[in-house]
Subunit: 350 residues, 4 copies
C-alpha cells in the first residue's frame, strides 16, 4: 500500500527540538506520530508541556521503555548527548530494521579519539558510530539515502560547513585563515531551567561562550579537514544573542588567489538546484530573520576592502535547518519521500 | 475544470499584511498569485522588499493601474484606510464579478454615521458599504459564503468580539460592565518609517496609545450592540507591547447571575467544532506565543475572586487570524474551498 | 561626628532586588555596605554573582549567621516571603536598636487574618506585624520617619496605590468600579532558575498570570479600603511582559460625578512637590521606559469617550521605586537623611 | 570663584547621544546646561522630545543660531557628520576660547586623504582637523587636557582600539592577523525614522551591515597603524544586534610568540589604575549587559585551542563610553575636573 503512513516515534519530545519535530510532522502528509517520550514529564499530554498543540490529537508522553519499537518505522532521537548512544543501541537490538535520525552529537564524529577529546569519555557504541551517515543532506545525500542511522549535524556546524566545504574542496581558500564568529539564538540552549538562560539574564545584551572550546568545533574540524585533504582547525567563537531562533555566522577567509566574486560563483554553482540553500547575489548580506521558521540556509559573499580577503555570511534557523527541519529532510531521504515534503513552510517575518 | 487554480491579486503587497498574505498564498494548493502591487515600490521584485521570498517565483511589484482585474478571480486589498474605498469601487467597475477581501477598515462599519465619526470624513462608496459582509467567519459564515465583498475585521476587534458576542447574545453578562485592555505587538503598526516605532523607542518598555478613542472601538460597539440588542460602549484601551506579533486582550466582565464557569461553558459550546477557535479548560490562561504564526484564537475564562465577576483572556496573531490568515479563511469561503485550506500551520514556539 | 557613614547590611544580595540595592548604596554618600548575605552563594564575591560589580570593593557574600547585627545601623532584608519574619525577629533579638527595611511581603498586611488568607499560614511575628510602618513614603512619610521596621510595599501595589488612594480619599471615584490590568517586566519574577522564565519561554509573547488571585491584591484591598472607609476589592490582573523592568498599570474607574479632568487635578495637587511622583498633563500617556532605572512614578489621566469614566495610567521601575529605590527612600527617612539622597539617577532611555 | 559651574551647550540634543549627554550633565555637580539645540524640533521643550526629562528644569530647544557662544564654556556637538565641521568653525570664529567636544566623526581622522576616502568629500576645516585631539582618554589623556577641540572617537572604534593598541605597541601580536566581529545595539543607528530600524524589522534576528566598508575602519586603521609603526588594515565586520545598548567585539589575533596569557597580562598592566577600563581575569568572558548604562569597558582575553592564537572580547555601552560618557570624560579633562566626575553610575542589570 504505497500510501500507508510511516509510523514515527519522537524520543525527547518535551524539549525545543522535540516540539519542533512535532510541529513539522503533524503537517507532513506521509507520516503519523505514534509515540512521544519524555522521561520526567511522562504521563502528561503534549498540550500540557507545549500548549500550542492543544487543538491537535497526539499520543501522550511516555517513558522510552513504554515504546514498542517493532511497531515504528523511524525514530527521531532528541535526547541529551551521551545517554543517546545507549538508547539507540537498545533500539536497534529490539528492532534492527527501524531507521533512526539522531539529533544529538553522539554519532557525528567518526574518529573515536576525537569523540573522547570533545565529549570527555569513550564512545560506547563504536560500531554504530562507524555505521552512521553524517546528515548534512546537501553534501552526503547519497550516503543518507542508504543509511539506517543518520547523525543530524549541529546548528553552528551546518551554518559554517555548507558555505566553506565547497571552497576548501576547490582549494580556493587558505585552510588556516578561517575565522568564524557564530551568533546563536537562545532556543539552542534548550529548555532546562538554568539561571544563566533566564530572560533577565540574557535579554538586552550579548556575550560569547565556550570560547576556548565549543563541541561543535570537532564537527567543523572533521568536515573541513576532509574537504581540504589535510588537518584544519578554524578559529571559532559562539556568541549568545538575544533572540529565540537563528544562527548567524560571520566567516572571514583569505583566498589562494581567487577573488571574493570567484568564491561567490563557486558557491552559487555548487548549490544551484538545492531547495534549501539560497546563495544571495554577490555583495548582498543575509539576515537571520529571513529564514526564521523555515528550512532555508541563506548565504552571502562580500569582498573585503583588501583583495584576497572575503567575508561569508551564513544563516539558518537553529531549530529547523539547524535541527528538526534537517532531521525531517533526512527522514524524507531515508524513507524515500520527496526531499522537501513537509518542509515547504516560508519564513515567518516579522 | 475543478482544479484550475484561482487567480489572486494582492494590492499593497509591500506591507506586513501583504507579505503575510503572500506567505500563506504561496503554499495554498488552490490559488496562484498573478499580481502584486505596491505604489512606491513598483518595479521592484518582492524579494527586494522582503528577502525571505527570494527563493520563490513571484510576479514583480506593479502599480494598481497595471493590473488587469478581468483576469483575476479574487483581490486582497491591503491598502491604507480611506484610499481603499475608491480603489475597490473602480475594481468593481472594471470587473463586477471579481471577489474582494478587504483588509482595511473601510467597509467594516455598516452605519455611515459611525464611519464618519471614527474616520473623520463621509464614506464615498456607501452602496458597497451596505453590500459588504463582515468577515468574522465564526459568526458570519453564511453571509460571507455569498458575498462579493468581505470586510476583514481588525485585529483588536477579532480578539475581543469572538469571546464576548456569544455571552452578550445569551444575556449572560452585563453589557455596561465590559472593560478591555488589549495588548498588541509592533507589527500591527505597519511598516512605514516612524520615529515612534523604532526599536530603541519601543523595546524594553510598554505604553498605552489612542486611549481616548481607538478606531477599532467602532467595530466593537457595532458587534456588541448587535449581540446585546441595545447600545454597548465598552471601555477599551490598546497597549503597545515589545513583541512582533500577537494581540492579547484581558476582558473584565460582570455576569447577570451566571458563574464564571457558566461563561466558560457557553463559549466552549459555541465554538465546539471550530477549527480556529480553541477554548482552554476553565481557569487556564492562554499565552500569545502559543498562537504565533498560526490562524488560531485561544480563549481562557477565569473566575474573579468575587462571585459574579470574571476575566476572559483572548489571544491571536494579529497578522494571521487578526489579518491575513482570516482574509485567506474568508477567501476559502468565498471561492468554495475547504475553510482551513492553506491555514493549517501550527504556531511557531519559541 | 555628623558625617560618619551609616553601616548597612543587605540580606539576600544575590537576587535582583539585592543587586539593585547594592547598585544604589554604592553611590549613596552617607552609607557604607558592611555585610552582604546569600545563603547558597556564601563564600563567593559579589562580582562572581553580578559581574557588573567587579570594579568596586564590596564585602564577600556570607550567610546570615555570620553577620554581627550589633555593628550595623540598618538592615535591608531582601529574602523570600515567609522566611523573612523569622530572620527579622532574630535580628531584633540580637540588636533591638537596628533599623530594618524589609522588601518581602511579610509585614505589609496589618490584619493577621488577611495575611493568613493570602499567604496560607499564620504569621509568626504578629507583634512586629503591628509595629511595622507601611513603606509607601508619599502616603506614610511621618509614620516611616519614626519606624524601626518598615515594610516596603510591592511593585504592582505601589503602582496602583499611588494614583488611586487620593481619589478614594476624596470620594471622587466609585470604589467598586476599579479594574486594573497591571503589566510587569520579567525581573519581578526574580533570579531563580525556572523553566517558565527562560528567555525562549517568555520573549516574543505576553500572558496573564495569577489571574484568580495575586498576593498583591491583599495590599491593594488594605490600602483602598482604608482610603475609602469601607471594604474595596478591585478587579486586578497581572500580566507578564517581555521586558526586563517596569510595571505599567491601566486603571479603569468610574467617577462619582467628577470629570476625568477633575481626577487629574486632584492627583496633580496631591503630588505637587513630590520628588518622585510626576503627574503628566491631562490626557498625556506615560511610558514605562521613561522611568526605567529611576525612582520615578509617572501617572497619566485620560478621559474615556463616555463621560463619568476615566483611565489612569501609572508606571514605575519595579526594581527601583517598586522595590530597592523605595527601600533606599525609606532608609533615608529612617536615618534622617534627605529623602532623595542617592536616588537622583535619571531614567536610562533607550 | 572655584565652584562656579561651567556653562554647557549641547548641539543636537534631540538624538540619543544628545539625550544621554543631558542625562549625565543634569547630575554632574560642576556644570550647568545653558543651551540645547535641535533644528527641526526647535521651540519644543526637552520633555516633549524625551519625556523622561519632564521632572527636571532644562532650557528649551532652540536653533544653533540662537545660542550665544560667548556665554558658554564648553560645547558638546552631537550633530550629523559633515555639517559639524562648518558649525564648529563658526563657533570658534564667534568664541575662540570656548572648548568643544565633538561627537561626530568629522575630526577623528588626521589624514585629509583618509577623511576624503571614507567620507566622500574633502574636509572643509583642515586646520581644526590638525588641531583636534583624539578623545580616547586612556591613550591620549595628556593631549586632551590641553586641547580646545576634542574629537570623541566612535563606539566600534573605542571598543576595538583599547584592547588592541597596547598589544600592537608591545609588538605582541601580528598586525595582519587582526579580525574583528563587532556587534552593536540599535541605539547606535540614531533616532531618525528609517524603515530598516523599525522594531519589526530588527528584533528577533541579526545581520551584518556595511560589510565591505564601515567608516569606523578609518579610525581603526589610523590608531592601529600608529601603534604598530606601519600600515595595518584589520578585517572588520559590524553586526546589528537586537538590543538597545552595547558594543561587543570579538577580536581574533595571532601572537608573535607570546601566549594568550601574556596578552592578558600586558593589558592588565596597561590599564591598571584606570577607572573605566576593567580587564577580567584571564579566560573570563565579559557580557555587554554588565556595562550597560555605565562608562566602563570590560575586556576579556581567552586562549584559543591552538597555541599562538587568542580571542579578545571587549564591550562597552555605545551611548556612554562609546559616545556621551566618553565625551563627559573628555570635558572633565578639558575643564580640569576630576576625570570620573558625573560618571560614577554603575551598570543597570537587568
Amino acid at each position: 500500500m504505497a500510501d500507508a503512513k510511516a509510523r514515527i516515534a519522537v524520543l525527547g519530545a518535551s524539549g525545543y527540538t522535540g516540539s519542533e519535530l512535532v510541529r513539522l510532522l503533524l503537517r507532513h502528509p506521509r507520516v503519523e506520530i505514534v509515540a512521544l517520550t519524555a522521561d520526567r514529564k511522562a504521563g502528561l499530554s503534549m498540550a500540557d508541556v507545549f500548549p500550542q498543540f492543544a487543538p491537535f490529537p497526539l499520543p501522550k508522553l511516555v517513558t522510552i521503555d513504554a515504546v514498542d519499537f517493532t511497531a515504528v518505522d523511524l525514530v527521531f532521537c532528541a535526547l541529551p548527548h551521551a545517554t543517546t548512544q545507549e538508547v539507540i543501541k537498545k533500539v536497534f537490538e529490539v528492532a534492527p530494521a527501524v531507521k533512526v535520525v539522531d539529533l544529538s552529537a553522539d554519532f557525528r564524529l567518526k574518529d573515536p579519539g576525537a569523540y573522547e577529546q570533545w565529549y570527555g569519555n569513550p564512545h560506547s557504541a563504536t560500531e554504530l558510530q562507524q555505521e552512521a551517515a553524517f546528515g548534512l543532506v546537501e553534501i552526503y545525500r547519497n550516503e543518507i539515502r542508504k543509511a539506517r542511522l543518520v547523525a543530524n549535524p549541529g546548528c553552528h556546524t551546518t551554518t559554517s560547513i555548507l558555505p566553506v566545504v565547497p571552497l576548501l574542496e576547490a582549494g580556493a581558500i587558505e585552510p588556516d585563515s578561517i575565522v568564524i564568529d557564530s551568533k546563536t539564538g537562545m532556543s539552542g540552549a534548550g529548555r532546562s531551567a538554568k539561571e544563566a538562560m533566564l530572560f533577565s539574564e540574557v535579554s538586552e545584551g550579548i556575550h560569547a561562550y565556550s570560547v576556548s572550546g565549543h563541541r561543535h568545533m570537532g564537527e567543523l574540524d572533521q568536515e573541513y579537514s576532509k574537504a581540504a585533504g589535510r588537518p584544519v582547525t578554524p578559529m571559532f567563537v559562539p556568541v549568545l544573542t538575544p533572540m529565540n531562533r537563528g544562527i548567524y555566522a560571520t566567516i572571514f577567509v583569505r583566498t589562494t588567489g581567487a577573488t571574493a566574486e570567484d568564491l561567490h560563483n563557486l558557491l552559487a554553482t555548487y548549490y544551484k538546484g538545492e531547495a534549501f540553500v539560497h546563495v544571495l547575489p554577490f555583495g548582498a548580506v543575509p539576515q537571520s530573520r529571513h529564514v526564521r521558521g523555515s528550512n532555508m540556509v541563506f548565504i552571502g559573499v562580500v569582498a573585503d576592502r583588501v583583495p584576497g580577503r572575503a567575508i561569508i555570511l551564513s544563516t539558518l534557523d537553529n531549530l529547523v535547518k539547524g535541527a528538526s527541519g534537517q532531521a525531517v529532510q533526512n527522514m524524507n531521504l531515508v524513507l524515500g519521500f520527496p526531499e522537501t515534503l513537509g518542509l515547504e513552510q516560508i519564513a515567518l517575518m516579522p
